[in-house]
Subunit: 139 residues, 2 copies
DNA sequence: TAAATTTGTTATGCAAGGCTAACATTTCGG
DNA sequence: CCGAAATGTTAGCCTTGCATAACAAATTTA
């Protein structure tokens, strides 16, 4: 059995696979290729690696499906993404696209521990509406 | 003239060079090697790249010095690092080492724009002491 | 100061992640 | 059902960043 650790790059591929399957019931390699701005060849390579690590089920010319392990991992990544994006967008007031793009980079780096704290902090800020409103007004 | 863009890895080398020169007036390759946990050979390679991009002055067996461009760039990176670490450590209440390590990863990703906003946010939180104290008490 | 140690460089190789081009397979439109 | 178009795969190559091993230079020390 091969190593279970995922690089940032493979996490991106897995996240994409998960989101597409969730939204459309299936994914095609070419969609991933377009979403991540990589060649079709690179997608094939990445999917083979994910399959080898048991995050997805995949074989030559076969449909792509996601394993339980893959779902679990994808959810973790997406949760990180959402917490980060929420903080940038709704606390700091960053424009959506920039918030999303940056969240995408950081989601592969941040620890579970910091993520949890940030998540609590987001919740806390939401409760204390005044605080954030005043910040946004530069007061 | 070669490309001026620095990879995360080269940013780490530059940051290390800058800090050491600031603290001790000079750097030796072997110190960088120890601080960044890489081989001496990798340091030589990285220093050559930084010199080629005009961030440092460097030649075979020569002293390492940093250019104005290098200083400017290093300050940017270190500022990012500090703002991030402050947020993790003093706002979220993360332990120093973890805060530093994560800041180190994110400093290469975050945009100037988000950095500025986060910096303002740090300042704002410092002013509103009560807010952060209550968060830390889980209220 | 000469030998030993430390530090720096070079040569070479490896893994990851990307690319293009050519080929294989599948899907779609007549 | 067949040919064209779309999609997927493979082969070969490139770049970055790292390593080790052997060699070169500098520094230390006996």
């Amino acid at each position: 059995m091969s190593d279970k650790v995922l690089s940032s790059s493979l996490e991106d591929y897995l996240e994409c696979v998960y989101n597409r399957i969730n939204q459309n019931g299936a994914v095609k390699a070419i969609e991933i290729s377009k979403e991540l701005n990589v060649s079709r060849a690179s997608v094939t390579e990445a999917l083979n690696k994910l399959a080898q690590k048991n995050y997805i089920n995949y074989g030559r010319y076969e449909m792509i499906s996601i394993t339980d392990l893959g779902i679990e991992k994808a959810k973790e990544i997406i949760n990180k993404h959402n917490v980060l994006q929420f903080f940038f967008e709704n606390i700091l007031g960053i424009e959506k696209n920039e918030a999303a793009k940056t969240a995408c980079g950081i989601e592969h780096i941040i620890t579970e521990n910091i993520l949890n704290k940030l998540s609590e902090f987001n919740d806390y800020c939401v409760k204390k509406t005044d605080f954030i409103n005043l910040f946004k007004q530069g007061k």
